[in-house]
């Protein structure tokens, strides 16, 4: 991950921009999308009108009180807008960076994918799907595309933040190029795969900016619940007016509850805290994905990540270090283990594969056999070939070979040698443990076997245990045989594995899980992963992967780190938890607000109801104002929480609920009692009301 994408939560530029925007967003056409805040805005307009009216015609309440209530209601809306603008602002800064790399550039259009074809220079915005362009070192790639010819190194820092260039070539899994990235060496012929406005960068910009942000399904459902609560409270408060009219008439005492007070009560009761922060929470969730260098193609995908039940992980690179390593030399009877190690090292000296390197290192570590220079030995390296399935070295008339057991067996037989009886049992033993046996022979004499083992990444076992506690099942996908797969699976602590996996088998596995009602997440990079990615509910494509994989996925990991899935799941859960806890907090707050406002509103009619003023607030007016102020301020105080998200701990569901209920439920009941009392004390000390 790069520093560039990290941002401070409190950046003054961000805050000032957000402050301006939060006033612009008072536009009712904008607010109507958020039912709760829209009601608050109507309340603000109403109280403002009352204030203006009372300047000309006394209404029975001090004009200053109506003004104060009105102002704080406006603040409530503005604070909620501010939260949203803050969340958006963080994405916008990111979008600016991206936009600078999208600027219009000149593209070398060619009619056919031929290096010598006639070049026409056009603007990149004129490029359409299926056009061919040629780019050379120093050029910026004009649009997304697929390399059809050439090999080149490309600097993709504009989108990944990673400045080390990557290789892009035609065919295979590294053929996709992204518009806005810069070609550092050589040349490429590219077939354009995106129309203007639909490129990867365009999509990224609109995602991070939240411009095209649509409400996610869960957000819509929560919005409905909040709207329902708002209507209930609207009716509960509006009917206070006739009720109090009746009561005043019935006992000929007091005055009916005023519109200002009813509006104040309404705004305090409707779930403004969560209503005001809801969109900020959603944008911030997306933003946290960006911070983790993951671009989600939709908010829906982020939300789904929290629901994942099954995680499909490729073995190589995700669970294991990617390559097998030698861990032991096992000589056949009558051979010294050092002789075996020595021969194995000699055979591997020129072998630059990680397996080969690990043999050299193991021989050195275990038996102190120093690495020798293959040139001074006058040795000839025999590289691995698919035909012989062996590699080795020829020197001083010696032929040393290492390779798969059956390949070496054939080689020894051809030389007229015999295969010692114990080789078979050693090989079987190693295979049974899930490791790979590599037989070493010198001429017609078999020396022994090297054990190559998959090395499980450090700490991965703990992460899987963590996932299990989150309720997520991990499935390892590997092309290995079932025996090897089982051994690695046991080592890594995954719940299940799919051995000898083909693209069809992967797709089938995903479908099976989905048919059982589970949500499946997977990562992939190759074109052959594309069908499975398209089928998975949360599909993270590696940025280094092919265009097909990126198209099929609903997220792109710019770091191309397959373990990122775990973080993605956590971010998804965090998003949902933040919504849930703030909803609980918001509703729990109402208890205290009732105890502040109801006695204040009714004490004129029934003085006995003053008993309900348990907080002993100074005067009815200061009680009402304190509740309104608290209601507005709590939004501001919770902005950091909404943007950062409530911390997710991988506990069981019950433990999580208990903790969150204690903090946000019980806390939500208690905090406003303290807060309203404190504000009331401040108001009464200042003798405002």
């Amino acid at each position: 991950m790069t520093k560039k994408l990290k941002q401070n939560l409190f950046d003054w530029h961000l805050i000032s921009t957000a402050a301006i925007e939060s006033v612009v967003k008072l536009n009712p056409l904008y607010q109507i999308r958020k039912p709760v805040m829209f009601v608050v805005e109507i309340g603000s307009v109403l109280t403002t009108a009352l204030f203006i009216t009372c300047l000309f015609k006394p209404l029975g309440e001090p004009p200053a009180f109506i003004l104060a209530v009105s102002l704080w209601l406006w603040f409530t809306v503005i604070f909620a807008n501010f939260a949203e603008s803050m969340a958006e602002g963080r994405g916008k800064a990111q979008a600016e960076n991206l936009r600078s790399s999208r600027r219009d550039i000149q593209a070398n259009l060619i009619p056919t994918p031929d290096r010598n074809a006639k070049v026409t220079v056009v603007s990149s915005s004129k490029l359409r799907k299926g056009d061919y362009v040629i780019v050379k070192a120093g050029d910026i790639i004009p649009s997304d595309g697929e390399v059809t010819e050439g090999v080149a190194s490309v600097n993709e820092s504009a989108i990944t933040g990673e400045s080390a260039p990557v290789i892009r070539e035609s065919g295979g899994d590294r053929s996709a190029v992204t518009g806005g990235t810069m070609i550092v060496s050589d040349w490429l012929i590219i077939r354009i795969t995106a129309n203007p406005g639909e490129t990867f960068i365009d999509r990224m910009i609109s995602m991070v900016e939240g411009a095209k942000r649509q409400k996610t399904p869960n957000e819509i459902a929560l919005d409905i619940l909040l709207a329902g609560l708002t209507i209930i409270f609207l009716i509960a408060t509006v009917t206070i007016v006739p009720f109090s009219f009746f009561s005043v008439k019935a006992i000929s005492q007091g005055t009916p509850v005023s519109v200002t007070i009813v509006t104040a009560l309404l705004v305090c009761l409707i779930p403004t805290t969560i209503g005001g922060l809801l969109s900020a929470i959603g944008i911030a969730g997306m933003d946290r994905m960006i911070q983790a260098n993951v671009i989600a193609m939709s908010g829906r995908a982020v939300e789904a990540a929290g629901d994942v039940d099954v995680l499909l992980l490729d073995k190589t690179g995700t669970i294991t270090l990617g390559n097998r390593q030698a861990t032991e030399f096992i000589p056949v009877r009558g051979i010294d283990v050092k002789a075996l190690a020595d021969a194995a090292q000699l055979a591997s000296l020129a072998d630059e594969t990680p397996e080969g390197r690990s043999i050299v290192v193991l021989a050195k570590n275990l038996y102190g056999i120093r690495e020798r220079d293959i040139n001074t030995l006058h040795a000839k390296f025999i590289p691995f070939s698919a035909h012989t399935r062996m590699s080795g070295v020829n020197m001083d008339g010696k032929e040393i070979r290492k390779g798969a057991s059956d390949a070496v067996l054939e080689y020894v037989r051809n030389q007229g040698g015999v295969f010692p009886s114990d080789v078979g049992s050693i090989v079987d033993e190693i295979a049974r443990e899930g490791a790979t046996p590599l037989v070493v022979a010198e001429g017609k004499k078999v020396l022994g076997v090297i054990r190559l083992k998959d090395i499980v990444k450090g700490g991965i076992k703990e992460r899987f245990a963590q996932l299990r506690r989150m309720g997520i099942k991990t499935v390892m996908i590997t092309g290995d045989n079932p025996l090897t797969a089982a051994a690695v699976a046991a080592d890594a602590g995954v719940d299940d594995f799919l051995a000898e996996a083909t693209p069809e088998a992967k797709l089938k596995l995903i479908r099976e899980h989905q048919a059982g009602g589970r949500l499946v997440a997977m990562t992939g990079d190759g074109t052959n992963d594309a069908p499975a990615l398209a089928q998975a509910d949360v599909a993270v494509a590696m940025n280094t992967g092919t265009q097909a994989a990126k198209e099929a996925g609903n997220m792109v990991d710019l770091d191309s780190n397959p373990t990122k899935l775990i973080e993605i799941v956590e971010i998804g859960k965090q998003l949902l938890i933040t919504r849930g806890t703030l909803t609980t907090f918001s509703v729990a707050n109402d208890v205290a607000k009732y105890f502040a406002i109801l006695p204040a509103a009714f004490v004129g009619i029934y003085p006995a109801l003053g008993v309900l003023n348990v907080m002993k607030l100074a005067t009815p007016l200061s009680a009402i104002l304190s509740a309104v102020i608290f209601n507005a301020l709590i939004i501001v105080l919770l902005i950091p929480l909404a943007l950062r998200g409530v911390k997710y701990r991988p506990l069981g569901a019950s433990a999580l609920l208990r903790n969150n209920l204690l903090i946000y439920g019980l806390g939500g009941v208690i905090v406003p009692f303290i807060g309203i009392k404190a504000i009331d004390m401040l108001i009464s000390t200042l003798h405002i009301f």
Binding site: N218, L229, L576, G580, D590, L657
Partner: protein, 595 residues
Amino acid sequence: MTGSGLFQIGLYFAVLVVLIKPLGSYMAKVYEGTPNLLTPILRPVEKLLYRIFGVHSDDEMPWRTYTASVLVFNLLGAIVVYLLQRFQQSLPLNPQGFPAVSWDSSFNTAVSFITNTNWQGYGGESTMSYLTQMMGLGVQNFLSAATAMAVLIALIRGFVRRNAQTIGNFWVDFTRSILYILLPLSIVFTVVLVSQGVVQNFKPYRTASLMQTVSYDKPVVDSQGNTVKDASGKDKTEPAVMKEQQIPFGPAASQIAIKQLGTNGGGFFNVNSAHPFENPTPLSNFLESLAILLIAAALCYTFGKMAGDTRQGWALLAAMFIILIPLLIFCYYSETIDAPYVKNLGAAVTSDGNMEGKEVRIGVANSALWATVTTAASNGSVNAMHDSFSPLGGLIPLFLMQLGEIIFGGVGSGLYGMIVFAIISVFVAGLMVGRTPEYLGKKIESFEMKMSSLVILIPAVCVLLGTAIAVIAKDGVAGIANPGPHGFSEILYAFSSCANNNGSAFAGLSANTLFYNIVLGIVMLLGRFGVIVPVLAIAGSLAGKKHVPVGSGTLPTHTPLFVVFLIGIIIIVGALTFLPSLSLGPIAEHLTAIK
């Protein structure tokens, strides 16, 4: 509070709890169509009924068809009850020769009985012929209860079925509810009640001489039946002496059995189960109060059983008990405390507590018990006058109704309301554990939230808006018997009762007027069908979803923690909605009195 009173309450709940499992699992078998105790006898009858009415019992209905069946059937029921009242003077079994009931009262009563509310603006023994009582009201007692039970079963199927288009067959669920559950229980209960002395005959009323003549001031009425005012504007009265009384009869026992079991509550006589012919002995009182909660409680077990996890049913039942019992104790306590306003009642105060409006033979504990369970369940029958309870004692029945009649509630309707609250609780709690919420393996999404919000919104809005209209309207205020906050409570109580289909009356309010008959009638319709339609919509939507298997990340919904959360949501939503109105009613009355 006395030891004996608390013991009787304890015994009541002990017997209730023992009966839940056997009855609940029997009902599960009935609805699942598996062989049960009564199959050998009733299966042929069931098949015959289907053949007569042309029901194809294997035809499954999508939720819209199911809903349409419910609505059309209830509409027809309403028309029949309406016509029976309007033409009862020309129909048989009318020994008292009662005239036709007015159109507005007929409308109100028809709506009241098809909605399982059994709000009674009329006095039964002075208005309704035996035919109207039996064929209209008595029959609707069965039909309205069975309707709600069918709707509940459809909702449960929504959870059980996977990727299904249909939620069952209304006619089958409905027929089984009556045939296997309501009828057998009612028959047994009727026989028991008759053994206790509840009347069951078709005799005309009998006149008996009073042992003690009663002198009183009788209001003077003009030819139109309106009271005449004297010069000072008060009602004009003249002295009168009463020497004899009329003793009403009728087929009461059979109707009382179903009115209790089916949470209908509409009494055969005006004073309901305070009447000695409806509720003559301690045993009849115990059994009648037991019958109020019996089916509603057992259905929770049925729910768990059918959903494949009885713990889910017990959890909802636990939430109901945990809300009910403290409120009951509080109500009982409020009726026994030595508050200042109790002193004003004079002779009605005994060592037992406030006996005003209560039957001496029933006592405070059993009156409080009945008042609480009859409003917890949407029964509404009474054995004491709630209007005469202390302000806080009367607050409890009022609040229990305002909670939406989900603490046991009506048979079927209470549990489907409770399940909707569970859906809302799961939605919020589910988010807090970091998953999009699911209940019983079904994802709760925006459609379910929309419908659930309606279920909670409609009755609450009906109560508040209805009360608001009544306290402003001249015709509304005219019905009030008491001044001040108590008068407000009377109106609030009437609307809380009707909108939540309880039907219990605070008395006091003169509700048999054009205004109240119409407004309360509309409120009853909205409170019933405004809930049933969204509930069936939820059933249809859930049935079409796939099942999400339980994992360790799934929020468990049978744990004490979830029960606590559910209770919290119910109480907070209920309290926040009604606290302002309760403050101006019973709370103000109580606090003003003790000041």
